[in-house]
């Protein structure tokens, strides 16, 4: 299935009408150029020049820059090197008490405070975009949820040189 660039732009924006999503984007086989098209669009949209190697979420990317591979926010803030857990460089708000979780859902529809369960919100320390939310018991380690194998992906799966030549 071939999708044109404007459809992928709309997919990223969440504005692709359902009939197009259903008929052109969801079915198999998928567009084999999807990754390259997505990267091209994302690269056009950011205000910095570092090459995007892989998107981590709506506001976060692994990029190739002057200092090697880093995790960079859409606002331009660099959090850490690509192999580190970017969450450790964020700001966090951990909601545990009832009055804190009550801002999210009504009473009885949030964790019981007697269970010391936390809703952890991770913010970009520059622009305060919400980058991730975790629901975990107090004392739970902060997991590095994704460690991309960038070299294998480009060299073996895409059969291309890695853009930063590392």
């Amino acid at each position: 299935m071939s999708t044109d660039k404007s459809q992928i732009e709309k997919l990223i924006d969440g504005t692709l009408p359902w009939p197009e999503l259903r008929d052109d984007v969801l079915p198999d086989p998928k567009d084999p150029e999807r990754f390259e098209t997505t990267i091209e669009i994302l690269q056009e949209r950011v205000d910095w020049d570092d090459r995007i190697l892989v998107p981590l979420n709506d506001h976060l990317y692994v990029v190739a820059g002057d200092d090697g591979r880093t995790v960079k926010a859409e606002c331009g803030h660099e959090l850490c090197s690509a192999d580190e857990n970017w969450k450790l460089e964020c700001d966090i708000r951990a909601r545990e008490e009832q009055e804190e979780t009550a801002e999210l859902y009504p009473e009885l529809m949030t964790p019981d405070p007697d269970w010391t369960f936390q809703i952890r919100e991770y913010f970009c320390p520059e622009c305060y975009s919400l980058l991730d939310v975790e629901a975990v018991p107090a004392g739970y380690p902060i997991l590095q949820k994704f460690e991309p194998d960038i070299d294998t992906f480009y060299e073996e799966w895409l059969d291309q040189p890695v853009p930063d030549g590392q």
């Binding site: 997919l11 990223i12 969440g14 692709l16 999503l21 984007v25 969801l26 198999d28 998928k30 999807r34 990754f35 098209t37 998107p55 979420n57 709506d58 506001h59 450790l88 700001d91 966090i92 708000r93 951990a94 801002e103 999210l104 859902y105 009504p106 009473e107 009885l108 529809m109 949030t110 019981d112 007697d114 269970w115 010391t116 369960f117 809703i119 913010f123 305060y128 975009s129 919400l130 980058l131 991730d132 939310v133 975790e134 629901a135 975990v136 018991p137 107090a138 004392g139 380690p141 902060i142 997991l143 590095q144 949820k145 994704f146 460690e147 991309p148 194998d149 294998t152 992906f153 799966w157």
Partner: protein, 749 residues
């Protein structure tokens, strides 16, 4: 030719000729076939060493036609046989499936329906092979076997398998397996997913790969034992006939196929079809995912301190269900649950085969929508469910009655891991943040005051939950469950026909259940029902999770709301009905009290243990929403306006989370946004984020101090203590993360 006795209306009029071992292919015993298959897989990495799919390449039409005919036969058996059943969960919702296996127990094809069972039947067959049934108990044409022993190949106790061997010229060429979900399986309490069961001995009726018939007829002693061992013998009897009839239809269709194509071509076809399934998964991994390591964790709260019946279960427990996945450079996929909690005195213990079933039903929805759906994908995934943990206890004495209590939360983490890979690759439309775990809204039963007949309560409208959001759109509202891709709410009239003493008062969207985000999770819904013209009515509520979340959101989206319980006894409904009035909603918890007088029992827990209900008592349950995706401040205003007008959220929650302010006309369900106030509120939220957050580094210091002081709730301490006791690598990683000494322990003293 095949050995088929003359039959009249499905009843054998003659006996089959007995066969003598070896009954496998080409003079092999089944054990020899199994050994050879496993060795070839180990040596070559391919099913039966098939590197090239010769038949698929050389005779593509014949090959695909054979698969279509087998698949069609399985679907046809399901669609036809379900009409024999009288149980609404089978007939109306389709809680059944049929599978075809090779002689050594590898799934070739499956019907639609509860396809979680693709691999469970496989395990039961392999158990029979390894236990030497071929030589001792014997496996004969016309035999009927039954299994629902979770430890040997099942998902949970109420799922019952009927397996029949299919012979052709004295050779076993396949097994057909039919499985239905029973509305009652005996056990310590009424209900099909028990809450109170803490050991096997409370679970109810078990068949352990048992021969239950020969010459196509079920033994009378088995039929009597089973019917006397369940509370709903009529449903049991008809469900069993449904499974046997469907399996016999498959046998007939397969025999016709083999007559036509020849047995050798059929055999080669089965090898290639399974290898194709394996190859399809590997190629799909390379096509859709991103190589690397993925981690997530789910949690299963077990709030039994106040509710538990068995003294050993009277404690609050929290099961740890971590999932690390590796997408290999070669397209391989692995899954590791090192760090999972130990089993416990609850019904959520889950056998390895059940976990494999959960993996299977997940992969077929997120990665393998098409292609040959069979055990090939099982062979393509390297899964580690640690022995002795809650996800692979290896202990038949435990209760496995509600294994879904471990499966459903676990696969939330699996879906998120795979979704991170979809996102990295650009396939945002395939992202799914998870789902609402259905639990079992209401279970039990009572007696009809007029007929004195027992009726079970097991509404399967619970199969319509909120789905998680994707990275391109909201989750599906009240129309999804992870365990059956063909989810269906069913007709209220159908449920009322079976559940005679518990008519519905209402069904309604449940506001504020959907997980927040740029794309919100699908919404849940609620229902109110009243006990009517019944006696000896005992019900329990089994909705999970209640006191904690089990999963997170994704990429800035929030987990969905947790569940709660409310019921009202000694109501004034009899008087209200005279005035044609009655309550219809608990939209915001507490609303119900305004519309009914009585003894209201509300708790944070989504559960309550079996409780006696009298006529005019009020029963409430709701289905949850799905997790959200992305920062809520990125959600477009027009979608929030729609959310408010459809009652997905209430205005106070939208203002608090999304910063959108305006006026809602409750009558017309129209929302008008106040743009100035909205801009001001959103700036306030951004400012709150700055002011109320701290650096993660300082948070880690505080949390570490807290761990050192063991300043945790009992269930959290119990969780860490249980994992530490198992002594695997996860404990070392925990200590390393928090920079704690090697001998740091958390225990309950």
């Amino acid at each position: 030719m095949s050995q088929e006795p003359e039959t009249t209306q499905g009843i054998a009029s003659d006996e089959y000729d007995r066969v003598e071992p070896p009954i496998g292919w080409d003079g092999q015993t089944l054990q020899e076939m199994l050994d050879e298959s496993e060795q070839l897989l180990e040596d070559t990495g391919r099913y039966h060493g098939r590197e090239r799919l010769e038949m698929k390449e050389d005779e593509p039409f014949q090959y695909e036609r054979m698969f279509s005919r087998l698949r069609g036969a399985l679907v046809n058996a399901r669609e036809t046989a379900l009409h024999i059943s009288a149980s609404a969960i089978v007939r109306e919702i389709g809680e059944l499936a049929f599978q075809l296996y090779t002689p050594e127990g590898d799934c070739i094809a499956t019907s639609t329906g509860i396809i979680v069972h693709v691999h469970t039947g496989s395990l039961a067959i392999k158990y029979m092979i390894e236990e030497g049934y071929e030589h001792g108990r014997t496996i004969q044409p016309g035999d009927i076997f039954c299994n629902n022993d979770n430890d040997l190949g099942n998902v949970h106790t109420a799922d019952v398998h009927t397996l029949i061997p299919i012979f052709y010229d004295d050779e076993l060429i396949a097994w057909a397996d039919g499985v239905t979900h029973e509305v009652d399986i005996g056990g310590s309490t009424r209900g099909h997913d028990q809450l109170a069961s803490t050991t096997r001995y409370e679970d109810g009726l078990y068949a352990t790969c048992e021969k239950i018939g020969e010459n196509d007829e079920v033994y009378q002693d088995w039929r009597d034992r089973a019917e006397r061992g369940t509370r709903t013998p009529m449903f049991w009897d008809l469900d069993e006939k449904c499974r046997v009839a469907g399996a016999h239809m498959i046998r007939e269709a397969l025999t016709d196929l083999v007559d036509e194509v020849g047995v050798e071509r059929y055999k080669e076809f089965t090898r290639e079809a399974i290898e194709e399934g394996r190859q399809t998964l590997e190629s799909r991994v390379q096509e859709r995912l991103f190589p690397g390591t993925y981690r997530d964790a789910s949690f299963m709260p077990v709030p039994f301190k106040e509710e538990g019946w068995n003294p050993v279960s009277q404690k609050n427990m929290l099961n740890h269900l971590p999932v690390e996945m590796e997408v290999g450079g070669d397209g391989g996929l692995s899954l590791d649950m090192t760090g999972a909690s130990p089993p416990g005195p609850h019904p959520y213990n889950c056998a390895e085969g059940s976990m494999q079933g959960g993996l299977w039903v997940s992969l077929t929805q997120c990665l393998l929508h098409d292609g040959k759906v069979n055990d090939g994908s099982y062979f393509a995934v390297d899964a580690n469910f640690p022995e002795g943990s809650v996800v692979n206890p290896q202990d038949p004495s435990l209760s496995y009655h509600t294994a879904w209590g471990s499966i459903m939360p676990t696969y939330q983490a699996v879906w998120k891991n795979i979704s991170r890979a979809f996102f990295a690759r650009g396939f945002r439309e395939e992202v799914n943040t998870g789902y609402s775990e259905s639990g079992d809204t209401m279970s039990g039963g009572g007696f009809n005051e007029v007929t004195d007949e027992y009726f079970p309560i097991a509404p399967f409208d619970l199969s319509c939950q909120g789905m998680g959001a994707s990275a391109s759109r909201d989750g599906l509202d009240y129309a999804y469950t992870m365990w059956n891709p063909e989810t269906d709410m069913g007709d209220i009239e159908e449920w009322e026909l079976i559940e005679q003493g518990l008519p519905f008062l209402s069904r309604h969207i449940k506001p504020n259940t959907a997980g927040h985000g740029k794309y919100r999770g699908g919404s849940g819904w609620e229902t109110l029902r009243v006990v009517d013209r019944s006696y000896d009515m005992s019900l329990y509520k089994h909705v999970r999770p209640g006191v904690t979340n089990s999963t997170s959101g994704m990429h800035g989206g929030y987990p969905q709301a947790t569940n709660y319980s409310v019921r009202v006894h000694n109501t004034d409904l009899e008087e209200q009905f005279e005035d044609a009035e009655y309550p219809i909603s608990d939209k915001v918890p507490g609303d119900l009290e305004e519309d009914v007088d009585g003894d209201v029992v509300r708790t944070e827990r989504g559960i309550y243990f079996p409780t006696t209900f009298e006529n005019h008592d009020l029963v409430y349950y709701h289905m949850g929403g799905g997790p959200g995706y992305g920062d809520p401040l990125d959600r477009p205003f027009d979608l929030l306006k729609e959310d408010l007008e459809k009652e997905i959220y209430t205005p106070d929650v939208v203002e608090s989370v999304y910063g959108v302010v305006g006026d809602l006309d409750e009558e017309e369900r129209e929302f008008e946004i106040d743009h100035d106030a909205t801009e001001e509120r959103r700036e306030e939220i951004r400012e709150q984020r700055r002011e109320e957050s701290q650096s993660v580094r300082s948070f880690i210091d505080e949390e570490r101090d807290r761990l050192v002081d063991r300043d945790l709730s009992d269930p959290a301490r119990r969780m860490y203590s249980g994992v530490f006791d198992r002594g695997d690598d996860w404990s070392d990683e925990f200590r390393e993360f928090w920079d704690l000494p090697e001998n740091f322990e958390i225990n309950m003293e």
